[in-house]
Symmetry: C2
Amino acid sequence: MDVTPDRSQTRLDHYVDRYAARTAGMTASEIRALFAVASRPEVVSLAGGMPNISGLPLDVVGGAISDLVAHHGAVAMQYGSGQGVPELREQITDVMRLEGIEAHPDDVVVTVGSQQAVDLVTRIFIDPGDVVLCEAPSYVGALGVFKAYQADVVHVEMDAEGLVPAALRQAIASVKASGRRIKFLYTIPNFHNPAGVTLAAHRRAEILDICTSEGVLILEDNPYGLLGFDRDPLRALRADEADGVIYLGSFSKTFAPGFRVGWALAPHPVREKLVLAQESATLCPPQFSQMAVSAYLANHDWQGQIKQFREMYRERRDAMIGALDDLMPDGCEWNVPDGGFYVWLTLPPGIDAKAMLPRAVTARVAYVPGTAFFADGFGSRAMRLSFCYPTPERIREGVRRLAGVLEAEIELRATFGAAAPDRPLQAYQGYDGPGSDLS
Amino acid sequence: MDVTPDRSQTRLDHYVDRYAARTAGMTASEIRALFAVASRPEVVSLAGGMPNISGLPLDVVGGAISDLVAHHGAVAMQYGSGQGVPELREQITDVMRLEGIEAHPDDVVVTVGSQQAVDLVTRIFIDPGDVVLCEAPSYVGALGVFKAYQADVVHVEMDAEGLVPAALRQAIASVKASGRRIKFLYTIPNFHNPAGVTLAAHRRAEILDICTSEGVLILEDNPYGLLGFDRDPLRALRADEADGVIYLGSFSKTFAPGFRVGWALAPHPVREKLVLAQESATLCPPQFSQMAVSAYLANHDWQGQIKQFREMYRERRDAMIGALDDLMPDGCEWNVPDGGFYVWLTLPPGIDAKAMLPRAVTARVAYVPGTAFFADGFGSRAMRLSFCYPTPERIREGVRRLAGVLEAEIELRATFGAAAPDRPLQAYQGYDGPGSDLS
C-alpha cells in the first residue's frame, strides 16, 4: 500500500458525500487565506489581529512557570476539572470587577480562548435555522462559528456610538414576524472588531432594556475592554444584568494568546450546560496553561502591564491615524478608535476592497476586506486595518503603500470607468459599516 | 439588580426552552458524578483514568520549559496555526512510526487532547441520526460526543481478541438494511478502555477488509498503544490503510495530560476539514502547550520514560490481578490486560454494579459501572476497574473493600432474593462485555 499520499490525487475528495450538512458551512475565511501571504517579511500586514506581546517580561513569566513546574508540576500536568482551575476562576472575577461585574467563580467556565466560548455557547443554543443577531460588521471568527452551526445571521446597524437601538428593535421585530427564533444577540461593545467603535454608555441601558423585554439573550464578547487609550473601562453589559447576559473574556490581549485561556461567565443553568459541553469537547481545558496564567496574575503587576500595553497600542493607533490623515486620497473615510486594535476604512465609491487586495499584496501591504465581516456579502467598499502588531514606522510605511495602490485604483477608475457595474452604494440598509460617518 | 445569584432559585432553568436539540444529549456522565466522591482521600478510587505521572522528571520538564520561555517566549505565547506547530507534527510522525505508520506531517492536525479530535471528527461527519459503530463496551467520553451530535450508536460485540469480525459484518448489514447511514467505526484497538482487551494482529487485516469493502471509515483511537507490558506495539490499523482510517493519538498517557495535546492523522481532504473545524472551535490549539511537549520530546529520552511507565503500570496491573485472584468471591470474572489502564470485571448473575455503587463508596472504594460504557443501558452486570493511579498497596486495599461489598451483596441476594426481577442475563446479544470469558 502506498503510504506517501499523492497530493494532486487526494485533491479529489471522495469523502465529499459523507460529511455532515454543517461541514458545508466550514470554509476558509478570507483572513486565513491571507495569513500565508501576510507572513512574508516584506509585506506590511495590517491584516492580522495578533497582539504585540514583545513587552512581556519573559524573566517573570519564565520564573513563574519554573516555580509552577517545580512545586506544582504533578497537578499542572494532570487532568483538571471541565470547568477550569478554581484559583484562576477566582482571579477572573477580579479581572471582571474592573468593568463593574460582581460574579461568583462558580459561574465562570474556562475555555480554550474565548473563541471556544463562542463555539460552546453556540453549540448549546443553536439549532439549524435559528437566528443570531450580530453587529454589521461583526467578528469574522464568530461569524464562522455561527455558520458552522447553521445559524442564520441577521446583521444590525452600528454607528459611531455602536449598535443602534432603533435598528435592533427593528431587526427583532422583523425576525419575529418571519417566524424564526432569535437565540441571542452577539455583540462586542468595546473597541469593536472590526469596526473600532464602542457602545456608548448611555446606549447600554437601552440595549439591555430592549433585549430583556424581547427575551433576547446577550452574548457579550469583550476581549479588548481593558485596552482603552484614554479612560477607565466602561461598565460591562453584564455588570447591570446578571441573568440575561453571557459574558466572554480572554487573556489573549491583556496577557498572551499562546496559552489559549478565555472564559464565559453565564447564568447558573447555562453554566452547567457549558461545563457539559466543555467536557464533551476537550474533557478539560489545559491545566498547565491555566495554572501558568494564574501564576502570572499572582506574581506580576498585571494591571501595570496592561497599562503599558495601552500606551504601546495608543502610539500605534496614533501612527496609523496620522498616516491616514497625511497620505490617504480624497474620498476615504475612517474612524479614530479609542482602544483596541482596529480602524475601519471606507473607500471611495466604486472601489472594491476585495478585488483590490491582490494589487495591494503585490505592493507589499495586506488588510482584510470588509466582506469578511458580513455574513451576507456586504462590506465590499470597506476594509479592516489593524495597528496592533507592526511598529509605528511599519504602520506608516504600510499606509503609504496602501495609499499608492488606492490612488492608482482611483485613477484607473477615473480614466476607464468601472470594469463592472458598481454595486449599489451604501447597499446595506443605506450602510456599509460604521466608518463612513466618522472620518 | 441582585448580582449574587440565589443558588436554589437559579436551579429553575428558564432557558430550558431555548437550548438546541443537541443539548438534551449532554448529560453528566456516570464518571463525572463520581469524581467528587472519588477524590476524597479516604476513598480508594479504581474509577478514574488519570495517568500516574509522578515518575516524570520535573527538573527536565522545568528546564525545557524555562528555555522555551527564555529563547522562544514571543512565539510560544503567540497565536499559532490552526493545524498545530510544524516541528511538533514532525515529531508526532516519529511517535507513530513506532506502530508502523509512515505519515506526512502535513496530514497531522494537533488537537486539545484526543478528546477534541473525537469531537472534531464527529462534527464534520455526523448529522443527527447517522450511525456510529462502537465496540461493546466503548469509551464513555466518545459515547458522550456521539450523543451530543445526535448520532445513533450501534454496539458491536468484542471478545478476548477484540472486535469480532462476524459481528461487525452483521452490524453493518443490519444498519444498512434499516436504511440508516454508517459514518464510521469507532475503535480502540489496543488495551481497550474500558474492556482491557487488544485487537489480535490476525484480526486487523480482516477488520480493514470488511470496512474497505463496505465503505466504512475507521476512527482508530489509540491513546494506550505504546503502553504494552510484554511486547512491542502492534501495527496500527492506519499502518496498513492510509485512506480509510483516521488515526487519533495523544500525549496524555505517554507524557502528561495537563498540556492537552493530542492529534488526528487523516486522509488529506478530511485533514483540511479538520483544520477548518479546529479554527472555528479554538482558532488554534495552545501554542505554548505544543511547544512545551515538543521541547520535552527533543530534550528527554521519551522512549525511556515510556518504558518506565510500562513497568510501573505492569506492577499495578499485577497488584490488581493478584488481589482479584486472592480476594474476589466466586462467580466474578475478569480479564488480564497486557497493557493500558483497565480491567473489565463481570459480576455474578443478579448483581447490578450501578445499584451497588453507593454501598461501595460507603465502604470507601469506587469504580465505574459498566452501563457507562454502553449507549443502550447494557453492562449492568459489569464494572471497569482502573489500576493506573493508586499505588499497588492501595489497589489491593481497594479490591479487598470491593470484595467485602460484593460478598455482602451476594449473601443478601442468597438470603432474600433479588429486590427486582433479574435483567436477562447476557442480554446484549448473549453478551455483557468481553470480560466474562477471560477470567
